[in-house]
């Protein structure tokens, strides 16, 4: 059932392309703003780049996850899912994994403009950077999917989503910045393993909480 729901998420997005396009346009506009508004040395930019990147990813993730849940509200489409005789935890898992896929695609498309426009060097260990980035995406989307599910039923969901999400996701963004900064600087794994453990803990906790609680969260 999980794969049916995941296929549905991807198919609906393939038809509208609203989530990925809005994420991409927003991400590129932030990069351009960063690139043209800062006039400091490449060393300073390189120090701030990981934080800028993850803040941008956070905003882009909010846009993506909000759109992903808001089309469930059109024509009350969410009722099709929650009235079906399926484990509602799978709805959360499909939202989480599809959000992860959209965020990763968006990052793959904007990562080169990010490095080129900010004139910073690519990390010397690209596979480690890619692997950790995917884990961080997974953690961000686990929290975002759960919070979006909670906020979706609220009247001011577009306001409630960032208000609930930003405090919860801030440990992941801090950890992500530290991890990316360390990888960019070529630091050994022991320097940043604690931050990776934080990310992994968030994935496990929010994955389990989301799967377990979505049955109650989904109901009006």
């Amino acid at each position: 059932m999980f794969f049916i729901l995941l296929k549905k998420e991807l198919f609906v997005e393939f038809r509208s392309r609203e989530v990925t396009l809005s994420m991409l346009v927003f991400g590129l506009s932030i990069i351009l703003t960063f690139a043209f508004s800062s006039n400091v040395s490449p060393t300073i930019i390189a120090n701030y780049a990981p934080g800028m990147f993850w803040i941008m990813v956070l905003f882009v993730a909010v846009i993506g996850v909000h759109r992903s849940f808001s089309y469930e509200k059109e024509f009350d489409a969410f009722s099709m899912l929650i009235s079906a005789p399926i484990d509602r935890g799978f709805i959360f898992l499909s939202k989480w994994i599809s959000g992860f896929i959209f965020l990763t695609i968006m990052e793959a498309l904007i990562i080169i403009p990010f490095f080129k426009f900010l004139m910073i060097d690519f990390p010397s260990q690209p596979w480690i950077a890619i692997g950790t980035t995917m884990l961080i995406n997974c953690a961000i989307m686990a929290i975002a999917s759960l919070v979006s599910g909670i906020a979706m039923r609220a009247r001011l969901s577009e306001v409630l989503l960032p208000v609930l999400l930003f405090p919860l996701v801030s440990p992941v963004i801090i950890a992500a910045t530290k991890i990316s900064g360390s990888i960019m600087a070529g630091d050994p794994f022991s320097f940043w393993q604690i931050w990776l453990l934080i990310v992994l803990t968030v994935i496990v906790i929010f994955g389990l909480v989301g799967y377990t609680l979505f049955d109650f969260i989904a109901e009006e």
Partner: protein, 212 residues
Amino acid sequence: MPAVLTVSNISKSFDRRPILKDISFTLHQGETIVLMGKNGVGKSTLLRILARIMACDGGQISFQNKDLLKGSPCDRHKLLYLGHAPAMYTTLSAKENIKLALTLRGMTVGLSEIQNQLNYFGIGTQSNDPISIYSQGMLQRLKLAYAELVNWNLLLIDEPFSGLDTDGVGLVETALHRWKEIGKSLILVLHNQSRAKEFGDRILYIQNGSIE
């Protein structure tokens, strides 16, 4: 006839304002109950609670002798809810939406069979169009086509005649009569007294949160 649905002391409040207070009734196999009452008395809310789309504040619901509120999702396999909105995705076509909805219910139905139902309900030529461009009447017909394809035992349907032209009303009437004849159980929300008497074995009036 055995009881299909037993509703005991269901209550629901919005912003501490009670909408439903200790609603209790039993629906038997093959029986049709019509819910009536003024706008905002909680008819649609009650249907959404029975379909487990909305949480209730208290009470119990038993469907085919299984606790609907605490039991497994499979326990509501034979229960179908059709609300005001179509509960389908605007970017997908009628065929894709029905196919998806049936797959979520564990059913495998061919596209030709779906097309046949859509043809019967008069929306066959638009079956590949996204439903975002459908009129209210077409969406109502789409829901009925979907209901014909699902193997349900209890249908919860909210205002099935709204937005329909004369032909559409005829299709709904035919479908309701057929479902009653083959012994299906229904709970309808209607506003028209004569239709309620025509289709309902019992009419429950909701007033001040209770069944009068």
